[in-house]
Structures are given as C-alpha cells and as structure tokens.
C-alpha cells in the first residue's frame, strides 16, 4: 500500500490524501482506519461518523468485490480529504465498470429477499453528493458536516 502526500488529518486545510492498495480486505481496513481517524479528528458527530464509516466501507468493498472481483492483482485507488466542514472521497477500481441504472432497486418488495445490492442505495442515502464516473469504475462521495 502506498500513501502519497497529505498534511496532518487535524489540519483544516489538508490536501487530499491518496492510497493505492491491492484488492485485499485487510489492506482495506488499514486505509479505512486512517480515513476514520482523520474524520474523527475533525470533530464530526456520532451520526456523521456512522454515515461516513458506512459509506466508506460500502464503497471500498464494492471496489474490491464487485469492481476488481477480488483479484489481488488489481488495485483500489482512494483519494480523500476532510475538513471541519466537509468530507470527500473518491474510490476507483480497475475492473470492467457497471451501469448504475442496471442495478435492481433493493427497496422493491420483489428484491427484499436478495442478499446483496444495497450498498449503492445506502451511500446515496447518507451522502450529500455522489457521482459515478469512468463507466462505473469510480465513485465520488461528499458529506457536509451536519452541525
């Protein structure tokens, strides 16, 4: 895992931090822990922490599992920044991509008993902004601090 330039997480004008890591859940946890430490250091409340933690988890797992198909030879690229006002993260995988519209609506009663397919819905519910790019290989999410 490589980490490029960033200032201290507690710095309110921190430049984005970058991570590149193989499609491995243990490596993912290390990155996630660093991200959440930075968010926590910027004074987000419990509800915001919950939302950001959930969305980062879902985004990273999607990149590893659905994007890179658990291929350790494929990497996940993460860029995030956090200030006392906003959190933003971009996650990119090296997979084949997907079309958001092609993902079935998990809130449709016909899909309630399907065991997967809820990650995108949750990210879209909790984040203030969400944007898909690179034919679905990249997701950008932003959350403003609630109070």
């Amino acid at each position: 895992m490589s980490r490029k330039s960033s200032k201290s997480p507690a710095d309110s004008t921190s430049k984005p931090s970058h991570f590149v890591f193989p499609s491995d859940y243990a490596k993912m946890r290390e990155v996630q822990d660093q991200i959440m430490a930075a968010v926590h250091a910027n004074g987000y409340d419990n509800d915001d922490l919950f939302a950001i933690k959930l969305c980062v988890e879902e985004g990273l797992i999607n990149a590893i599992k659905h994007g890179n198909k658990l291929d350790a030879g494929k990497s996940v690229h993460v860029k995030f920044s956090v200030t006392p006002e906003r959190f933003e993260i971009t996650i990119r995988d090296e997979g084949a991509g997907f079309h958001r519209q092609a993902v079935p609506d998990p809130t449709d009663p016909a899909n309630w008993e399907k065991p997967s397919g809820r990650g995108l819905l949750l990210m879209e519910a909790y984040m203030n902004e969400i944007e898909y790019a690179a034919e679905g290989r990249q997701i950008r999410m932003m959350k403003l601090k609630t109070r």
Binding site: F50, L54, I61, P115, L122
Partner: protein, 122 residues
C-alpha cells in the same frame, strides 16, 4: 475481538434461542460469514426454530450483514419458525428503514417485547 472467540453467544429464554453478538461491529466478510454459519447451525438444531437476534452493543454493520440476516430469515421461514430482531440502536434501525428491510423483518424495541411476540404469534 480475539481470534477463536465465538462470534455469537446463545442463551435460552422462554422457549426461544436468544443470540447476542460478541463484536460491536458486524462488518468484515469473514466475521459476517462466521456469524451466518453460527446462526444457521442454531436454526438447524430445531424443527421449528424461535430465534431472537439481540443487537445490544452492536453499533455498526454493513450491507453484507443485512444479506446474512436475510438468509437467516429465509432459513427460519423454510422451517416454519420465527425470527425476531431486537434492541437495534436508532442509527442501525435507519439502515433497515432506508433499505425497507424493516418491512421484511419483525423488529421489536426490546428483548422482552420480542420474546413476548413469539407467544402472541399464531
């Protein structure tokens, strides 16, 4: 949670198997699979299982955990049993509401309410 610690603890109360989660976070795939396997084994032990999943102490879960719970629910229904979820903290309950899974699962505010609901269901 240390390696080797069972992912759930089980007690018997009022004819139901009450499951508590030993980790506050139901997150990574390995842990979710362990929990799912443990619950499946519990369901298989009874011809008509009554299972209560007590979420006391659980402060985080992922969508993969929801999938595990859905599979458990299906398994219980196939055996004409009953599954209840109880004591889910508001932040996690919101996840069930957003995904509409509060309509699929029988969720009660407390363990006692959930235990009572087994008796009140025909």
């Amino acid at each position: 949670m240390s390696t080797g610690t069972p992912p759930i603890s089980v007690t018997d109360l009022k004819g139901a198997r009450v499951v508590n989660f030993t980790d506050s976070k139901i997150l990574d795939e390995a842990n979710i699979k362990n929990i799912g396997d443990s619950i499946a084994a519990l369901i298989d032990e009874s011809p008509q299982p009554r299972i209560l999943l007590d979420f006391t102490g659980v402060d985080h879960l992922s969508s993969a955990a929801l999938g595990m719970l859905i599979n458990a629910n299906k398994r219980v229904k196939e055996k004409n049993g009953m599954l209840r979820l109880a004591h889910i903290k508001p932040q996690i309950y919101d996840v069930f509401v957003i995904t509409k899974l509060n309509m699929l699962f029988k969720i009660l505010p407390t363990r006692d309410a959930a235990l009572d609901s087994f008796a009140n269901t025909v």
